[in-house]
């Protein structure tokens, strides 16, 4: 009994802010893996579907059918994890929503609209395979793609608004008294940030799906079905990779101009100066010195503005008081994440170049085992790249939740029990993740056993006389 009381007292003394942060970060990190699939898989499925109908391609048809079934699962998980986020905005950040919901909420009204459209047509497309006419069915998939794009753009617009708050007027008490919805949605950070995420969605989705087929081909499944699956998905990713380099570069320069402190954290710049080196790895110390890593002289200055080159002045972290910039640890997190994003992004770009050159020269995909090995890893690497990029965006904004208007600690809930919900959510999400992968694997096994297309019978039984777990040969591994 006394122990119980003691632990309750401890619970009451737990600072909710880091736990709220951790829970938001964790749930977003999980949800963001499903986003690319939600946004881009429908497009790839339609490519397969189009090919099937146009060229009478049976493999592409089966591919499109199976992809739509996998999509149903990932879309469902994405929908529920997305709903959890809409709870969490209020549960974890009530003061943020109370003060800024009137402005911040606007893009979500449109996001909800697009998500609604997406959910409706995903249902029609997934369930429409049997009775709808082939081309009618194909067209019911198109709204999914369009709604996916606009939905992603709207939700990123809300995040961009946190980086570049606009479209509102405050009164002397700091309350929002006037809102200009277009100003909120089309804030300064929105065009580039949305483009960066949208391209990332296609890129990650493409690499993720193609890596499954690359792994299958490495295990000897080099039939036409697997090749088609690989080619469609990998081509989408390969086309997007160079686009992303351009968009990412433009966005970095936007950050240089508009969020100088974030840029200083990215480039590890403690004090304002020109001729700033590009530091690969390395770390910032509490005394403001940078140690370790490889410094390329002048490159960070040069990249920030090639016009002025090495003489470009980069604002340092010391230009703002310590409580208005990320802590040393956060700076190091941002910098390392940046290195990971750029490093892996470049590696994926080189992989795409390899693929592109092979097509240009030999009119076929690279035949090397090493190419397939690299492609099989590309899915996971692309996810890591995206997560790292997202860490740069979010941690780089610290300590602000609304840049220069509200700090994270002032936005957080005062509910000291957040650590409990964090643990429950973490356990539930880990189980959800494992189950999702297991279910996708089980589906692929079952599809393979049945050859063509399998449908589901009544839930619970009467039991199908197939035991999962036998066979054990899986080449279509879920990412």
């Amino acid at each position: 009994m006394l122990d119980g009381v003691a632990s309750l007292t401890i619970a009451a003394a737990v600072d909710p802010v880091p736990w709220a942060r951790a829970q938001m970060a964790f749930t977003l990190a999980c949800h963001i893996i499903l986003v690319p699939l939600g946004v881009s898989w429908a497009f790839m499925t339609l490519v397969a579907n189009y090919r099937a109908l146009r060229h009478d391609d049976r493999d592409a048809l089966v591919l499109a059918q199976r992809w739509s079934k996998y999509m149903a699962v990932t879309f469902a998980v994405g929908a529920v994890t997305g709903t959890v986020l809409s709870f969490e905005f209020g549960l974890l950040w009530p003061n943020f929503m109370g003060t800024w919901g009137e402005a911040f909420g606007v893009p979500f009204a449109f996001e909800g609209l697009f998500f609604f459209t997406e959910a409706i047509f995903v249902a029609i497309y997934i369930f429409g395979w049997r009775r709808l006419k082939p081309w009618t069915h194909f067209w019911t998939g198109v709204p999914i793609v369009i709604a996916g794009i606009f939905g992603a753009v709207s939700v990123v617009a809300a995040n961009a608004w946190m980086n570049a708050p606009a479209g509102f007027t405050l009164n002397s008490n700091g309350e929002v008294v006037k809102v200009d919805p277009l100003g909120v949605i089309f804030n300064d950070a929105m065009p580039l940030q949305s483009a960066h995420m949208l391209v990332a969605a296609y890129l990650v989705g493409g690499f993720l799906v193609s890596s499954v087929y690359a792994a299958g081909m490495l295990r000897g499944r080099t039939d036409r079905y697997h090749r088609t699956g690989f080619l469609i998905a990998f081509t989408v990713a390969a086309v997007m990779t160079p686009v992303q380099m351009g968009v990412g570069d433009a966005l970095a320069r936007w950050v240089y101009n508009n969020q100088p402190v974030k840029f200083a954290a990215i480039e590890l710049v403690p004090t304002t100066s020109s001729d700033v080196p590009e530091t690969l790895l390395g770390k910032l110390n509490d005394d403001g010195t940078v140690t370790g890593g490889i410094a390329i002289p002048g490159l960070a200055s040069w990249l920030s503005d090639p016009g002025t080159g090495k003489s470009t002045v980069v604002q340092g972290l010391d230009t703002v008081p310590a409580n208005e910039r990320p802590s040393t640890r956060q700076v190091n997190t941002v910098h390392l994440s940046w290195d990971i994003m750029v490093g892996l992004g470049t590696a994926l770009f080189l992989l795409s170049v390899w693929y592109g050159l092979s097509w240009a020269i030999k009119r076929r995909m690279p035949q090397s085992k090493w190419f397939l090995r690299a492609a099989a890893c590309s899915g996971v690497l692309a996810v890591i790249t995206m997560e790292a990029g997202w860490v740069v965006a979010e941690v780089g904004r610290q300590p602000w939740i609304v840049y220069r208007y509200m700090k994270v600690e002032d936005a957080a809930t005062e509910n000291s029990g957040v650590w409990i919900t964090f643990i429950v959510v973490a356990v539930l999400y880990v189980a959800l993740g494992i189950t999702t992968i297991a279910v996708l694997r089980a589906m692929s096994k079952r599809f393979r056993r049945a050859g063509g297309f399998v449908d589901h019978d009544t839930p619970y039984g009467p039991p199908e006389q197939v035991t999962a777990g036998t066979g054990g040969q899986t080449e279509e591994k879920a990412p």
Binding site: G90, F110, V176, V179, T413, L432, V439, G452, F453
Partner: protein, 345 residues
Amino acid sequence: MSTTIAVVLLLALAAYAVFGGADFGAGFWDLTAGGPEQGAAPRAVIDRSIGAVWEANHVWLIFIFVVTWSAFSPAYAAIMLTMYVPLTLAALGIVLRGSSFAFRKSVATLRYRRIFGGGFALSSVLVPFCMGAIAGGIASGQVPAGGKAGDPVDSWLNLASIVTGVFAVVVAAYLASVYLVRDARSAGDTAMVEYFRRRAVVTAVVAAVVAGVDLIVLNSKASYVFDGLMSRGLALVILSVLCGFGALVLLVRNAARGARVLAILAVASIIGSWGAAQWPYLLPESLKVSEAAAPDGTLTALLVAVGVALVLVVPGFVLLYLLHERQLLPEEGAEDVSDRSPAAR
């Protein structure tokens, strides 16, 4: 303009109760359907009935959140601050429910289907209970306005909340059973028509009893809302009672189509009467709709979004329901697509 948005919010709540509620109710019948063999037939009806539509249904909730936090952010913050326990439980229930339903359809073995099915069914009861408890807590003035949290436990585990939570579960089960009668009939399954019809009649009676108890409790615990129900909301209360009674008569006489329409009206008017009873408050006697309302710019943007939804989303939603209704989105019992592909011809 804030009144218009409040009406939109109420309509969305009614839509969630009618569409999403039936969805949760189907989970309740899934839970009570018995063992694998015994429950196979009702579960087949349930599965067919919600298979294609559950994700779309559940967007109503997101819409309600978005409208509340954009248009009435002080109320949203206050509800979130006080009601975080039932809201967290509801969120967890939604994760469990949605994912288990999707997984259940995707796994082949009986054992896993039962595990996921259990998760789906249990959370289908948990979520409406939490939602009802929150509504009861709001109605009985447990949510203080102005950035301070109410009691995290008492605010939703008081008498008014518990009875309203139970009422929500019963109403969901009632709606679902009425829908399922129709779905079983259109599938030509007379045994299941009878099965769900019996359940619909019983839950209709139970719902009426719980509604009566809820009124008595509200009279003592939420007098503002009770008075509102007896004045501003009275017309809707009477409409709800009449529709509910009419649906019951039709169910007894086995006229499923009309029963469904009346059941929907009955439930929608319950939500409507609640809104009217609370008027002009969002949080009874502490926060008025007009006080909580966002600046005009936000409200205009929301109305534009609603307008676009009417033009774009509603036709899609109707299409989905029509296709679903006319069994054009079957999962089984139709020829395989391979028979239809040009290659196979």
